[in-house]
């Protein structure tokens, strides 16, 4: 047992706290973390979360593979990352300690469920002696609590069977941590009442465990000190806490509303994208139609069919699904129909690391089609930004009549952060007009509809939907003549069409706002980021600047077409560093595009960057 601290009812104020809840996948750690997050959000802290769970639904109990964790960073100031190193590790069993101890800061606190540290569990993960008893944890503050037995005791008066009672031990842990960090219990009690309204035994057992954990903190010398994290100074307004996938789903609903078009989603279940399908299937009152297709290919086909019929057609997936949809996306390029492909990236290739994050689908998004088939790519950079990125991707698809790939990743998808709820009136409108009249006059004065007669500014073709009299037309994958859309295999026409399709995509850049340079524009080092690296880059750049170093930072939301001014901007810097959760995919693109000596900061570990990792590279580069 560690040192015993003097108990104090006075809470000490700290600025920030990173807690990692870790246990067996059956221990309810995601739920515990989620509750701690909600309570902290409601309390007014800024926060960022990182769930980390195994790919197997039921990995063997007590093993390292079965460890499920949830890290939450709460703060009294603006933060963007789930924190590099936890200050507190809640370890519900030896496997959790073994898996996550290396992450904990030296001197950090370990709250362990002593009961789970029995010989069998220790042996399963290769501990020869009990780390709670030998001095291997001397560098940490260890609070060992018999959570399982205390939970059973607390539930005994309710008549709950010990086996069932034991399941509530995660609420004991939550109660204890809530006491230690001065989190109120009421919101969780209310939540329990709503969630288990008709499951009295579960509700009462969880409540008893929660209260027992809390009183254990209050009454036991062992726990000692109490801390408090004050609310963050956030701009006034109404806030909610969203994950990236929820925000993205809402963004799709919003895009439909802003364009005044019904949304049709074709999707096939795949981690980590399925939650978007789940969320959208709940919002049919917005006119949203969802089809769980027979496969990824059909899902894309349904989205394209819906687009042909005049809907905002969307398909959501992850990397392996993008590969399967490739042929349909090419058809969307050829037919010049609006369509949204959402890729929630995960570790690959193949099934890879389905529950871990990676951003290695930039290449397939950029190049993963046959023939010359350029398309726009939008990347979201934070859970909240997923909402706005979905609207932007839909806007480009609808205005330019093109398939658009929206890239998010597993980290954004499951991570959450507070969001000042926007007023729908502040959102951009997406003006979409269907063609209803003939658009071409023949020499003899008669009129016709030409499905490939382009808008001179955007080069978009008209969108005339079935049901419109007089505008019947056929489209397809065969090369067609510009203007009439009739099949045309002539060499000059094919070359012209290839160029027109490319020009249409590059013109999108003319419509984008000038690229914003954050930090010090006059620095010698520029960080070029995209996607979810935003949070870690943000912290790293802030830290280097506080240390007196000048750093510029450009974060891309449009990866295709790239902003018109990007080449000129990057050429100003001696060093361009590109942090990417891949082996340097954007780096290669900017090197080829602008002939600049950009350097990749690459990480492909299934995990997001820590701010420290990026900071380290900036430091190295400035030497």
């Amino acid at each position: 047992m560690s040192e015993t601290l003097r108990r104090s009812t006075e809470a000490e104020v700290i600025n920030r706290l990173v807690v990692r809840f870790a246990g067996d996948s059956g221990d309810g750690m995601q739920l515990t973390g989620d509750r701690f997050t909600s309570v902290s959000a409601a309390f007014g802290n800024d926060l960022s979360t990182l769930p980390d769970f195994p790919a197997e639904i039921r990995a063997p109990a007590g093993t390292i593979n079965g460890v499920s964790s949830f890290q939450v960073h709460i703060s009294d100031h603006d933060i963007t990352t789930p924190g590099d190193e936890p200050n507190v590790l809640v370890a519900m069993n030896p496997a959790a300690l073994r898996a996550d101890l290396h992450r904990l800061e030296i001197g950090g606190t370990i709250i362990a469920n002593e009961d789970a540290f029995d010989e069998r569990n220790l042996e399963k993960v290769g501990y020869a002696t009990n780390p709670l008893e030998d001095d291997s944890l001397a560098n940490y503050r260890v609070i060992a609590v018999p959570m399982s037995s205390l939970t059973k005791e607390a539930c005994a008066p309710l008549g709950v069977k010990p086996r069932d009672a034991e399941r509530s031990k995660n609420f004991f842990a939550l109660g204890l941590v809530s006491w230690m960090y001065s989190r109120p219990l009421e919101p969780t009690v209310e939540w329990l009442e709503a969630k288990f309204a008709d499951k009295e035994t579960v509700r009462e057992a969880n409540r008893a465990a929660l209260l027992a954990g809390h009183s254990f903190g209050e009454t036991t010398e062992a726990v000692g000190h109490r801390y408090e994290v004050n609310p963050a100074q956030m701009p006034p307004g109404e806030y909610t806490n969203v994950t990236g996938n929820t925000a993205l789903a809402w963004g799709l609903v919003a895009a439909g509303q802003l364009a005044k078009l019904p949304v049709t989603l074709g999707s096939y279940p795949i981690t980590p994208a399925s939650d978007i399908l789940h969320e959208l299937s709940r919002h049919k009152n917005f006119g949203v139609r969802t089809v769980q297709a027979e496969d990824e290919i059909a899902a894309a086909g349904m989205a394209l069919g819906a687009a042909f019929a005049g809907h905002l057609g969307v398909t959501t997936t992850s990397g392996p699904g993008v590969a399967l949809k490739s042929e349909t996306i090419s058809l969307a390029v050829a037919t010049e129909l609006p369509m949204l492909i959402v890729d929630i990236q995960r570790g690959g290739p193949s099934t890879g690391l389905p529950t871990k994050t990676e951003a290695a689908d930039l290449n397939i998004a950029m190049f993963g089609r046959h023939g010359e088939a350029p398309l726009p790519i939008v990347a979201s950079y934070s859970p909240v930004h997923c909402f706005y990125a979905a609207i932007e991707a839909a806007r480009i698809a609808l205005i330019y009549r093109t398939p658009v790939i929206l890239l998010s990743d597993g980290y954004l998808a499951n991570g959450s952060e507070p969001w000042r709820v926007p007023d729908p009136a502040e959102l951009p409108t997406i003006p979409v007009e269907f063609t209803t009249e003939h658009n071409h006059v023949n020499d003899d004065g008669s009129t016709e509809f030409w499905p490939f007669l382009r808008d001179p500014d955007t080069l978009a073709r008209p969108w005339a939907i079935p049901g419109t009299p007089g505008l019947m037309h056929r489209i397809g994958g065969l090369e067609k003549a510009d203007g009439t859309g009739n099949i045309d295999y002539t060499p000059e026409n094919h070359e012209k069409m290839v160029q027109l399709r490319a020009a249409k995509i590059s013109r999108i850049a003319d419509d984008l706002a000038p690229t914003e340079i954050q930090g010090d524009p006059d620095a010698e080092i520029c960080i070029l980021g995209w996607g979810s690296t935003w949070a870690a880059i943000d912290s790293a750049v802030q830290r280097r600047r506080r240390a007196g170093e000048k750093v510029a930072w450009v974060h891309l939301m449009h990866l295709s077409p790239l902003p018109n001014d990007l080449g000129d901007i990057l050429r100003r810097y001696r060093t361009v560093l590109v942090p990417e959760l891949n082996s340097g995919q954007l780096t290669r693109i900017v090197r080829a595009e602008y002939l600049i000596d950009a350097t990749a900061i690459s990480k492909v570990a299934g995990l997001p960057f820590t701010a420290r990792e990026i900071e380290h590279h900036i430091e190295e580069a400035s030497r």
Partner: protein, 340 residues
């Protein structure tokens, strides 16, 4: 959307200005004629009609129809058509496919469109060969078929398209052939009028790569003895003198016998509306040996909930129950807190 009062149309209104480009003598011409001739009789407008095809000779058909159309990807027409139908249940959606397109590369989409019972009229041109790619055996080619890719004969067991459709819970299943325009029109009409997924197999002659594949059944000289015309509510009899009939033995197997030998009462009466598809399945397999008489007409036609209308009903019910979607409410649905 246009109003749907139907102006009278003629075959010309349904024909596009594109030059028809199949090989001279191809069975596809006859099918196109039947479709174009039928359309004015259906009481629908060209602008409310959509033809979606995959890839293959048959899949060029949409180009020749003056309707909305998409010549899409090999095998994917049922999926794309499902998207059209789900988005717009007000439209008449046709799927044009072939034996390679629909049963090989697109088999998965076909069975799922049938299972879901999406309101699609699916015409499968079965010529038992890959025509567009110049003569490889197809998933309906018979065992032993010598083709460019099977110089020593195919060793694959073929699909029976109607049996596949029935196995996929299709609510409408029929067969016709490219030499009988009236029969095609009647079959297509019934398929079109059916609410749900309607599957029609058309025996189609590819005179370039598989000429005469169906001669043993559809040639005028043998038709009487080799074609069994299924008529709902009537005994399943055929032959020049309607002297033969289909019976069911005590073992449940179907047999073709002389009516004179077994008596009229022993002959099965065709009931396309039987909820249980077993008999339709047995009829579909009657000619599995490829030499026995072959049934034509509507095998199965049952009522089943249509997919797109169920999807729309859920959308309508949600709007009624929760009111039309309000973005401001949605963005607050996770709970909110206020910072002053």
């Amino acid at each position: 959307m246009s109003d749907t009062t139907v102006t009278l149309t003629t075959k010309k209104d349904w024909s596009s200005d594109q030059e028809v480009r199949w090989c001279p003598g191809c069975g596809d011409y006859g099918i196109l004629q039947a479709v174009q001739q039928l359309m004015p009789e259906l009481g629908v407008a060209p602008e409310n009609t959509v033809f979606i095809s995959g890839i293959g000779c048959s899949s060029r058909l949409p180009y020749y129809m003056n309707t909305y159309g998409m010549h899409s990807i090999h095998g994917r027409a049922p999926a794309i058509a499902t998207g059209v139908a789900v988005a717009r249940p007000d439209l008449d959606v046709w799927v044009i496919t072939g034996d390679g397109d629909g049963l090989s590369i697109g088999g998965n989409h076909l069975i799922h469109a049938l299972r879901r019972n999406v309101n699609l009229t699916i015409l499968m041109f079965n010529n038992r060969i890959y025509g567009l790619t110049k003569g490889q055996y197809s998933p309906t080619s018979e065992v032993g078929k010598v083709s460019k890719s099977t110089p020593f004969g195919s060793v694959d067991t073929p699909f029976n398209p109607l049996a596949v459709a029935l196995g996929a819970e299709a609510s409408f299943v029929a067969r016709t052939h490219d030499l009988d325009r009236q029969h095609m029109m009647e079959t297509f009409r019934a398929a079109h009028d059916h609410r749900g997924a309607a599957f029609v197999e058309i025996y189609q002659n590819c005179n370039v790569f598989n000429d005469g594949q169906f001669n043993h059944v559809t040639k005028r000289t043998v038709r009487d003895e080799m074609m069994i015309d299924l008529v709902h509510g009537e005994p399943i009899r055929f032959g020049a003198e309607r002297q033969r009939g289909v019976t069911m033995g005590s073992d449940g197997a179907l047999r073709i016998l002389e009516v004179a030998d077994v008596g009229e009462d022993a002959i099965l009466v065709h009931d396309a509306t039987r909820p249980d598809p077993s008999l339709a399945f047995a009829l579909a397999r009657l000619n599995t040996d490829d030499v026995s008489p072959t049934p034509f007409g509507v095998f199965r036609q049952v009522e089943r909930v249509e997919y797109a209308s169920s999807v729309s009903a859920q959308v309508a019910a949600a709007s009624e129950h929760k009111g039309p979607g309000d973005l401001a409410t949605l963005l607050r649905s996770n709970g909110t807190w206020t910072v002053d």
